[in-house]
Symmetry: C2
Subunit: 401 residues, 2 copies
Amino acid sequence: MLDSATSSSGSLQGIRVIDLTRVISGPFCTQILGDHGAEVIKVEPPGRGDIVRSQGNMVNGFSWYFAQFNRNKRSLTLDLRQEEGKAVLSRLLEDADVLVENFRPGVMARMGFSDEVLRERFPHLVVGRINGFGSSGPYRDRPAYDFIAQAMSGFMGVNGHESGEPMRAAPPISDMVASQNLAFGISAALVRRERTGQGDIVETALTNGLISMMGYLAAEYFATGEVPKRTGNDHPMLYPYGLFQASDGEVAIAPSNDTMVERFLGALDMLELLEDERFLDNRRRMDNREALREILDREIARRSVAEWIEHFNEAGVPCGRVYDLHETFEDPQVREQQMALELDQGERGKVPTTGFPVKMSEAPAAIHHPVPELGEHTEEILAALGLAAAERGALRDKGVI
Amino acid sequence: MLDSATSSSGSLQGIRVIDLTRVISGPFCTQILGDHGAEVIKVEPPGRGDIVRSQGNMVNGFSWYFAQFNRNKRSLTLDLRQEEGKAVLSRLLEDADVLVENFRPGVMARMGFSDEVLRERFPHLVVGRINGFGSSGPYRDRPAYDFIAQAMSGFMGVNGHESGEPMRAAPPISDMVASQNLAFGISAALVRRERTGQGDIVETALTNGLISMMGYLAAEYFATGEVPKRTGNDHPMLYPYGLFQASDGEVAIAPSNDTMVERFLGALDMLELLEDERFLDNRRRMDNREALREILDREIARRSVAEWIEHFNEAGVPCGRVYDLHETFEDPQVREQQMALELDQGERGKVPTTGFPVKMSEAPAAIHHPVPELGEHTEEILAALGLAAAERGALRDKGVI
């Protein structure tokens, strides 16, 4: 195991992040930075805070959906519509390394923090932002929603059965991909800042992130001018490959070349199929896919998923069970990799969240802070900023914090 | 536009990457580093090189699939099974900042480059690696395939219709997510190295990356113990939301709260539906989803997708067409954001690839090098390393380069 949940450091130790984001894409990005040691100050509107605090499944009055994206942060309430709130933000930015926001394009400028102002007043700052379609172009002002980004990136259009409708991915994949892109972009800009002292403005968009993930499907379109068809769970160019029906569920089998196909059919004791005129090579197997599928499903239906997984793994055939999330998190490999991590939320109880996908040997990701209550750190952050108790009281009286 | 394809710099300018990876996940990661200014030396086996050079759609004898993942790199051929090849790799690593590999766990150690050796001989080096399941645990030696990672991460199990089978995403999403995770991890480790002088070993796995993307679906499972059901294109908690049938295709509509639902029904001139007992609030709309869907589809079928998109956007309703890849790359917003970039490959012609999802204001990503021919830069790289012409000739005679 490379990770330790008890380490107090991380690759981004000493980096201070002012986090104005809410909902998913921004908070997931700043959580990644926090997991790796950055000090993240989550700035939330007084009163209800990030809207996700009251969404999803609540346990002990605490949103586990919110917990999933907001560990390793401290919370400061601040009304950015009031001048006093903007003044506090300015003071925060003077000592910060990174600012992250996911407002619609133009909102920061209307608050008095345009790109020009940020560059002039905080030249050392790395500014990260996520929006729906990018901050230039005809759709710049449209609101950002994962479902729309999945539709317009071409991602949804290639998923699903050819005879059925286009199919979204259930997780908000465009948000999550944008979070990752921004975490990378901010870190790359920090590498440059360490060398030059200069900040930068880093931006990513839900649509752009998913488009960049289209990979060889985009290459196929560029090369042929033909749009890739939906092929369900079948590989567009290989057979046998895909889901097969065992006696108690589906098994995923992915023999990616002729050697693997021989291993697969050998493990089924059906190597003679490769002498059948219809199945001599991959091209003929593709042409006669349904006939071969019927033969294979009939054999595979004789045994359980567990039996086949063990048998195929012994034979070196890439395979796996189609897990539901319970099976995923109970899997011994997933447990060994600590892909669920329990947060100690005190009176709120123990709250599991997904683990760290990036493992570091010397400076591992770790739980530095549990998920903050709304405004939990307002006093300590403002005091550290040099605001006297009387000033803090005045801000509180005016509803700024 | 933040990006310029003519800039000669980038956030990672001055970072040298030795890239031992092949196929998708590793090459996409190192391409991201190269896009942002790192100098990437792609090390390939003499003869055929990266297997993807001969896969996918070939145009002018050139794989556009390979091009999609290998711009902004130079190519060096090197046989790492021969001692002389290992010696050249050692010399390369002395002057490098980053090493990236996606062999199965243990392969680097058998080549003489175990973690211990790397740490001792190259303490400044950031080592990045991608594998299927992680380098510890019972499945560490199993081969990595996207389809299997989609199955075992729980990702496939939540996609698709409840009545149908689990549904993969067509792009190799676990590879692409792992690439992004590793690009982030390497950059974060470089931030630390700038401050401490110490390298690190950074690792990510196809399964772990996708598990970390399960987001609120994981939170739902953790909170309730129930595994999330497949809901096709429907939102699990909101209605109306999803795909609707216009006269000439599907339109994606995502009203995420009551205000948006009012705008949506107002735009349809059907606000009276909200006074219908069956549709008074979201809970009742969920209970009577099929009845409402029928009413809405009947109305939406009267006009074309294009008419509805214009109409709904005017009304501030989040919506979009389900694009195929041709429509995506022809979209004016996507063009404005330069999400397709043409590489000038000389005699191989002009080759489009997907653009940069991470935009930087001061140090933008750019095309620094087209896609290299196999071994195109072997001579110049080895000469720069101090190998005399006679030494290079001897290596070539022995088939090392």
